[in-house]
């Protein structure tokens, strides 16, 4: 089973190639090619996962090319961490393929969409299977390409074009960080292999300053991909893509790649206390920052997008606070419930053809399947007990507390409260109350769309039992078999932590209920009481505007300056030389007055000068 794990990414690649060839086909059954091929990948992934669960690992590598004596290798590796990722990715990918069959119905470029999905799945699976940093980096960029293509799928929309460009460039900034970190590590270790890097970290071959530097550089890559502060702005904009794409890429898989990267390189981070602290702080701040923006957004997908950013912040916080298992655990559960939420949101959008929550309302009765599933997702993400989110979030809080990062702990609690609030604000506004828009012709989505949602709904409920103090810590036992040495045995904070977390989320739900269902509190009480703050939050803390004013304008300004420099200094110098030569030649041509006597005079001058030289130097013969 494990030997054939290299096949897993190839099936989606095949799907990409086949569908690209069939791109002109009008038949929507082309989707089945994609579904089938990712289905095979899923089956294989599950098989691999089961094998790993039994304790088999594999690492196969071959030389890709050589630089001098150093061989750059390519291959594949299966360990507990990436086997888990394989399953998550191929599962979500498979479900999204299925869902898209319904969602993309009637689109002109139907096969192309599935081709892009295939490309993305290929890249993501390849990323997960990579045994070394370089290969990871390559797939890392290809994943970005897939994301770029899918965000820009509606290429004729200027917003989609801008969003695709922004996503690519912003993640590229992070990628460059990863690139620098990777190359620096290479010159320290002499290899891109994880094993060798970890070995030299362990042996203390790398100075601590260099360790911190490389870890931080690599973390910059994770920041870019996972939409952490300050490179988060592309992720909400990425919602311009079709909704299944948002579920696949911008909720469950690609954005989690940053978390995966930090987890995969965990020994490096562990070796540097500073790096871990930075990870934790960035994660914690992002969690609350994005959650605060989520409170005020009006676009259903944007709310979910900020929620994703916030949840990814949680994962980073966990990893930074030595909660390795907690981070991975949350990654897993989040993949399920966030994908579910996005697919449900897609189903809503599919039904009402708008993304503005102000124009929805009262959809509970019309969307009999979507509604409850959305509720499950919302409950799960809010951390209501017994659903998956509760367990993973609890573990994150516990590990943060145990790591002594109390400030971040309370930030996380507040973020949990906010999460619950905005999720239920969304729920109540969309599904309850009176319809606020035109809802004629609203109907439930077809079976190909609801089926994946149901699967995810089930998983969103049960995934939490992978790792609980009550039934057993399967996940942490499983991950402990991997190459990464788990930090100090899973800490279980004081017993009051779950209670605080539950209280925070219930409080959030209650507040949302009071405001948006009951109307007990005026909806705009916050806007009225704190106009300045709410304005800032509504405008996403003006981060985009800030970037625009500084980096974008700055770059453009520099560019304009460069053009002026090019025009006036570089070309000016050339022009100066040219006019100098022209002036000289003008003088020369004035001497050509056509009079033989003048020419003779010049000739005499020339002879005299030559003779002078000969007379003074003694000439050739003397």
């Amino acid at each position: 089973m494990l030997q054939s794990s290299w096949l897993i990414p190839l099936f989606p690649l095949l799907s990409f190639i086949l569908l690209l060839i069939l791109r002109k086909s009008k038949s929507e059954s082309t989707a089945w090619i994609g579904v089938l091929l990712t289905g095979i990948s899923l089956v294989l992934s599950v098989g691999v996962w089961l094998a790993v669960w039994q304790g088999d690992f594999i690492k196969v590598e071959g030389t890709w090319f050589q630089i001098g004596e150093r061989a750059i290798t390519m291959g594949y590796e299966v360990n507990p961490l990436n086997a888990l990722m394989l399953v998550i990715v191929s599962l979500v990918s498979f479900l999204v393929h299925l869902y898209s069959k319904g969602y993309m119905h009637g689109d002109e470029r139907f096969p192309v969409f599935f081709a892009y999905l295939g490309l993305f799945s290929f890249a993501m699976l390849g990323l997960v299977l990579s045994p070394n940093l370089l290969q990871l980096y390559m797939f890392w960029e290809l994943v970005g390409l897939g994301s770029f293509l899918l965000i820009g799928f509606y290429y004729f929309k200027p917003e989609a074009k801008a969003a695709a460009k922004k996503a690519f460039v912003m993640t590229r900034i992070g990628d460059v960080g990863l690139f620098i970190g990777m190359v620096l590590l290479f010159w320290q270790v002499g290899s891109f292999e994880y094993d060798e890097i970890f070995a030299s970290v362990k042996n203390g071959d790398i100075s601590s300053g260099m360790l911190t530097l490389t870890a931080l550089c690599i973390f910059v890559g994770a920041i870019g991909k996972s939409g952490q502060l300050p490179l988060h702005t592309w992720l909400p904009d990425a919602m311009e893509g079709p909704t299944p794409v948002s579920a696949l890429i911008h909720a469950a898989t690609m954005v989690a790649a940053g978390v995966y990267l930090v987890a995969a390189m965990y020994p490096l981070f562990q070796a540097s206390e500073t790096a871990l602290t930075v990870v934790a702080v960035v994660g914690g701040v992002t969690a609350i920052f994005a959650a605060s923006i989520g409170l005020m957004q009006k676009d259903i997908k944007r709310v979910l997008a900020y929620s994703t950013v916030s949840q990814l912040g949680y994962m980073m916080l966990a990893l930074g606070a030595s909660g390795y298992v907690a981070g991975i655990f949350h990654l897993t559960t989040h993949a399920f419930f966030k994908a579910l939420l996005f697919l449900a949101a897609g189903s809503v959008i599919h039904a009402v053809h708008t993304q503005n929550i102000e124009e929805m309302g009262g959809l509970w009765k019309k969307l009999r399947v979507t509604g409850p599933l959305f509720l499950i997702g919302a409950l799960a993400i809010s951390g209501v007990p017994l659903l998956s989110g509760f367990f993973s979030k609890d573990e994150i809080l516990a590990s943060t507390y145990a790591d002594g990062k109390y400030g971040l702990f309370w930030l996380a609690v507040v973020a949990a409260f906010m999460t619950a609030f905005y999720m239920f604000r969304l729920f109540f506004l969309v599904f309850t109350g009176k319809p606020r828009g035109d809802q004629s012709g609203v109907h439930e989505s077809p079976g190909v769309m609801t089926l994946p949602m149901i699967v995810l709904g089930v998983l969103a409920v049960v995934a939490g039992y992978l790792n609980t103090t009550w039934f057993g810590t399967f996940l942490s036992d499983y991950l402990a078999r991997g190459p990464v040495e788990l930090p100090h045995a899973e800490h279980h904070g004081p017993g009051w932590i779950p209670i605080v977390a539950t209280a925070a989320s219930l409080l959030g739900i209650a507040l949302a209920y009071l405001i948006y269902r009951r109307g007990a509190l005026s909806r705009d009480w916050m806007t009225r009481s704190l106009p300045g703050l709410s304005d800032v939050i509504y405008n996403k803390w003006y981060v985009d505007e800030g970037y625009d004013a500084t980096f974008v304008k700055g770059t453009k300004g520099l560019s304009k300056l460069g053009i002026l420099f090019d025009k006036y200094v570089v070309d000016g110098l050339v022009a100066a030389v040219v006019s100098g030569v022209q002036g000289l030649s003008k003088i020369g041509s004035r001497l050509q007055n056509g009079q033989v006597q003048s020419y003779g005079t010049f000739a005499i001058f020339g002879i005299v000068i030559l003779l002078l030289i000969v007379a003074l130097t003694g000439g050739y013969f003397s």
Partner: protein
């Protein structure tokens, strides 16, 4: 044996050459310019003849060469004058500084 040193002849030739050159470059009348050139040729001839007498390998070569030079000078004078007359017929002038067709 002559008592006059070689340098004396060479000096005379040099002076005449310089006078001829000056005349050729500064006179405006084309005829005078031609004649100045003849003077320069004459100065050269003096050199040739002088070297025929005062030299390491004495012989008649210098004198014979001066004869050739004189012949060529005569031919040159004839052709030069012919050109001059043709030019005069076209331009009604023999002033050298008005002859600047080379410029165009």
């Amino acid at each position: 044996m002559s008592s006059i040193p070689l340098a004396a002849y060479l000096m005379l030739a040099l002076i005449l050459f310089c006078i001829g050159l000056f005349g050729a470059l500064t006179k405006r009348n084309a005829v005078i310019v031609l004649i100045s050139i003849e003077l320069m040729l004459n100065a050269v001839n003096i050199n040739l003849v002088a070297f025929a007498k005062y030299s390491i390998n004495p012989g008649l070569t210098g004198q014979i060469f001066s004869l050739f030079t004189i012949t060529v000078a005569a031919a040159e004078a004839a052709v030069g004058l012919a050109i001059l007359i043709a030019l005069y017929r076209n331009r009604q002038t023999v002033n050298v500084d008005e002859m600047d067709t080379m410029k165009r």
